[in-house]
């Protein structure tokens, strides 16, 4: 789902008087004009059945082509004409891109696996429950039936929740292009808002996540204004404990910079500690220090930075409690 300022949304009402440029009594508002802003531009539709076919189509059409997964980011952008691809390569028929399995110490999730399937997966519930917890705070039920994990990580939208989680989990993305397959770490993938290591002729085929230690603690804390909203700030925490002592800790932050953030220093400060108040405060300060959020409808930048700290504190507390001592 794309979140946009209200002014972008068009209304279908005609002004009461076509000659009048303004609504009576509301001089600031110019009369809404019916435009085709909710109808996407024309495109040629392709529905390949293999990854090779999909990649060949993307390669042959270059920058004019876009892959389509669940479509819940791309289609709203196309309706608003913020994206106008001439060729859409629908990955929905590529069976090899779907499914969740375990392979040599990794959980492998096919790119077009939906959030709903992530939530329902018994394998993830037992090995990687933070995925379910995160998927459940993404968008709303209808969108989770269709929205995919691959689309969520590949789009490069800093508002998406999965990228920071993938950085926290040290996931790798399997990218497939015309010259074959390559792996890029989630921590290296994001360059700027909507700019990633993905080439126009490549797709994210799968996500590989190292299986975390049994008994690990986890939490994803997201502050949002309403269901379906992007995070004002959110934090992902994975940690392990031995007695009171934290033996490993990884932290990711969502939507408080133009990329997801891996809060490496904060995790290092906490490792070896027993969650003493002063150590947590230092770690939170280290995490806040790397944020650089925009001031927008979700609040001024300073507020969003502080909320990233608050989400981190809450996530740490929950993850610590959940971890086997």
């Amino acid at each position: 789902m794309v979140q946009l300022p209200l002014c972008v949304h068009r209304t279908h009402r005609q002004p009461p008087d076509q000659e009048q440029a303004v609504w009576p009594g509301i001089p600031e508002l110019t009369a809404p004009v019916r435009e085709e802003a909710v109808i996407p531009g024309q495109f040629t539709y392709h529905r390949p059945s293999t990854v090779q076919e999909a990649v060949a189509l993307l390669a042959s059409h270059g920058e004019e082509a876009r892959p389509l997964a669940g479509g819940h980011s791309l289609i709203p952008m196309m309706k608003l004409r913020m994206a106008a691809p001439e060729h859409l390569v629908d990955l929905g028929g590529v069976a090899e891109l779907k499914g969740i399995r375990e392979d040599a110490g990794h959980i492998v999730i096919g790119a077009i696996t939906t959030q709903h399937e992530v939530i329902g997966s018994e394998l993830l519930a037992s090995k990687l429950p933070i995925l379910r917890e995160t998927s459940l705070v993404i968008a709303d039920p209808q969108i989770r039936y269709v929205g995919t994990i691959g689309g969520n990580v590949a789009n490069g939208d800093p508002g998406n929740d999965m990228p920071a989680l993938m950085q926290c989990l040290d996931a790798g993305y399997v990218l497939v292009g015309p010259s074959g397959e390559r792996h890029v770490a989630a921590r290296e993938f994001y360059e700027a808002a909507y700019f990633t290591a993905l080439s126009p002729d490549e797709i994210v085929a799968a996500i590989r996540i190292p299986v975390p230690a049994a008994g690990h603690g986890y939490a994803y804390e997201k502050l949002k204004r309403k269901v379906g909203d992007y995070a004002t700030a959110a934090a992902a925490v994975m940690l392990t404990r031995s007695g009171h002592q934290i033996t490993s800790c990884a932290i990711g932050l969502t939507n408080v910079a133009d990329t997801p953030l891996f809060a490496e220093e904060a995790g290092r400060i906490l490792t070896g500690s027993s969650m003493e108040a002063d150590v947590v405060t230092r770690a939170v300060a280290a995490a806040e220090a790397i944020t650089n959020p925009a001031s927008d409808g979700r609040g001024p930048a300073e507020y969003r930075t502080r909320m990233a700290g608050v989400m981190l504190r809450r996530a740490l507390a929950r993850a610590y409690d959940r971890a086997a001592a």
């Binding site: 949304h9 040629t44 039920p141 969108i143 379906g228």
Partner: protein, 169 residues
């Protein structure tokens, strides 16, 4: 871009097979409303926020304003027009919305009912909290949701062969 190929589309909508050619950019909601004259699924926000266009597609609840019709090729779809029995007997959910006053203006109702239809298939005995989470993608600007929740509880009870004792607010 003037020579855009029309794509063959086969759907089963409310139990009936339909075949058409569509332009790829045709959204599913427009196909249902304009091509099949099924005006039960409503166009509300057109930005996948409001849920008025919710239909059942292959057992999933889907916002039909945010899917191209071609993506749904081969799918089985249910809209509000397919909820009542052939003789007009209302489904448990429709009856629940009527008995519990689960609608005022009615604009959100087809989407609410289709969403609740899939929710109850997956979870036949939901708690109030599960119902509220389950309809979180459907906006109602009239009711305050109280009677919508009760309507869904009414339907869950009826489908389980129980009486629902509470009154509408």
């Amino acid at each position: 871009m003037s020579e855009i190929e029309q794509h063959p589309l086969t759907l089963t909508v409310n139990g009936k097979k339909v075949q058409r050619f569509v332009e790829p950019r045709t959204l599913l909601i427009h196909f249902l409303r304009e091509e099949l004259s099924l005006t039960g699924p409503h166009i509300g926000c057109e930005t996948s926020h409001c849920g008025a266009c919710t239909i059942e597609l292959n057992g999933m609840s889907v916002k039909s304003c945010t899917m191209f019709a071609v993506q749904a090729n081969g799918a089985e779809i249910t809209t509000i027009e397919g909820m009542a029995a052939a003789d007009g007997t209302l489904s448990a959910l429709q009856e629940g919305f009527r008995q519990m006053h689960g609608l005022q203006c009615g604009y959100c109702t087809p989407g609410m009912i289709l969403r609740a239809h899939v929710l109850l298939k997956e979870n036949p005995n939901p708690t109030e909290a599960e119902i509220r989470a389950g309809i979180a993608g459907n906006l109602c600007r009239c009711t305050g949701y109280q009677n919508i929740v009760k309507a869904i509880q009414y339907a869950a009870a009826k489908l389980a062969g129980r009486d629902f004792q509470e009154a509408a607010e």
